[in-house]
Amino acid sequence: MTGPLLKIEKLEASYGHVAALKGVDIEVNAGEIVTLIGANGAGKSTLMMSIFGYPRAQAGRILYDGHDITRVPAHEIAKLRIAQVPEGRRIFSRMTVLENLQMGATVGEPTHFPKDIARVFKLFPRLQERINQRGGTLSGGEQQMLAIGRALMARPRLLLLDEPSLGLAPLLVKQIFRAIRELNERDKLTVFLVEQNAFHALKLAHRGYVMVNGAITLSGPARELLERDEVKSAYLEGGRPAA
């Protein structure tokens, strides 16, 4: 009974007639940080969103905790405690920080709200300072914190993160990645992380997958992937910090 928390089997999906996922297999075990890396347009975001049915799988299955959720509507999937920080953050821009966090708590217990919001503010004190500010007026880094905070308000068992480092200054990237590690180590949160910043992602994750053109080409322990020549040449060139 201790199968993977998330198991994606031979998943195929497309936009119109254009195939975006061509039989993807991925497993995420409870307690792990798993990362998916790949070039722009490889299909990483499509895979993330297809877990919620956007787009719907045309073949293959998505199993969560052993249950088939391939055809379950998105809002029901949220109730299963899968939370997503989507590509582009998708903050509710005309809502305040507080309201965005309230939206994140849609599937949460109302009685947990004060405790959960305190936890988010402890992780990202900046959000508390901006509590009544509209989401659309936050800086990129603050929006990313809010998107993660919003996802955490659901008390997720599985957190899906799509390029949380995109467009952020190096210091902020560090802070976000430290927060992810903390959530994983202290709260045992399972994380599935999509990144274009392969070096940081593989440093953080336990295991990794490489996606090319809608299919997985490589997978294994993150440490090993970091040393693979294919990975080095394709994804780490120039992305590797001097230090």
Partner: protein, 304 residues
């Protein structure tokens, strides 16, 4: 001067009715980006439900006016809301993912169906309601002209004001209101956090229809008549109000409603009663050309 003040009062009362209808247009547009062309006819259905309920109450001897008004309001809102819900379910939801013109066509179809249905069920002739609320106040009088504020006008303005406050509070402070705003801003993201977007859209139609029912009842009390065609003209005017105020904006709908009511009233008073409907259409055309985002609307920069 007295004449002017009188027109102002009349315009505000009429504008209140348009404003309540306009909210339905603007809410539905905000949440699914579609003009619900059957909404004017929902208003017409509301007026008929109110008419029938009044007549039934009179027949069974409920004569205490406040009680009768309250019951009519409840019945009209509930039944009309059911119509709004049904229209969404059968004409719009199945088409939500099809090409953009499809729901527009089915909206016009729904509008025709509702008109014909009422025409057949209630007859094509104008239905009168005996005046229930009479009297009023003379505010001031000079040069042989008395400025009147009738009790019906007081009721209309008070009821609209009350509903607007309750409704704004609902949108700003309640869970449902927040869900509606979330769906309006990013429906897909709303579903990712667990909002049932289909249900939220349904409730938007239900609330819009209930407000249109109140407008229908007020129209009936104000003019004392209803026919199966009132939804078309009032609908176009309320739609104009929503566009003028900025489609998608709730304060805009109310403001637009008031302005259209005032424009129509002053036009009739100072130019020509026969062409009063032209005023609203002229405004619609001018707004669409020179001010497409309306007075309180925002340019569409966030729509994908």
């Amino acid at each position: 001067m007295e004449y002017f003040v009188q027109q102002l009062i009349n315009g505000v009362a009429l504008g209140s009715i348009y404003g309540l209808i306009a909210i339905g247009y603007t809410m539905v547009y905000g949440i699914i980006g579609m003009i619900n062309f059957a909404h004017g006819d929902i208003f017409m259905v509301g007026a008929f439900v109110a008419l029938i309920t009044f007549l039934v109450l009179v027949a069974i001897g409920v004569t205490a006016l406040p009680l009768a008004l309250f019951l009519v309001l409840l019945v009209a809102m509930a039944l009309t809301a059911l119509y709004g819900w049904t229209v969404e379910r059968i004409a719009y939801r199945p088409l939500r993912r099809s090409f953009r013109l499809a729901p527009l066509i089915s909206a016009i179809g729904m509008s025709i169906i509702l008109q014909n249905y009422v025409q057949i069920a209630q007859g094509a002739r104008v239905k009168p309601l005996p005046p229930l609320i009479t009297g009023g106040y003379t505010l001031f009088e000079s040069n042989d002209f008395a400025v009147q504020l009738s009790n019906v006008q007081i009721l209309i303005i008070w009821l609209t004001f009350t509903l607007m406050i309750a409704f704004s509070w609902m949108i700003a402070k309640t869970r449902l209101g927040r869900d509606m705003r979330a769906c309006e801003q990013d429906a897909r993201m709303a579903s990712l956090v667990g909002v049932d977007t289909d249900r939220t859209i349904s409730l938007t139609f239900v609330i819009g229809a209930a407000l249109a029912a109140v407008a229908g009842m007020m129209y009936l009390l104000y003019y004392g008549v209803a026919d199966f065609y009132i939804g078309f003209i009032a609908g176009v005017k309320a739609f104009t109000a929503a566009v003028l105020g900025g489609i998608g904006s709730l304060p805009g709908a109310m403001l637009g409603g008031l302005l259209i009511g005032l424009i129509e009233t002053f036009w009739s008073a100072y130019f020509s009663v026969e062409y009063k409907d032209v005023a609203a259409f002229a405004v619609l055309i001018v707004v669409l050309i020179f001010l497409p985002t309306g007075i309180l609307g925002r340019p569409e920069i966030e729509k994908v």
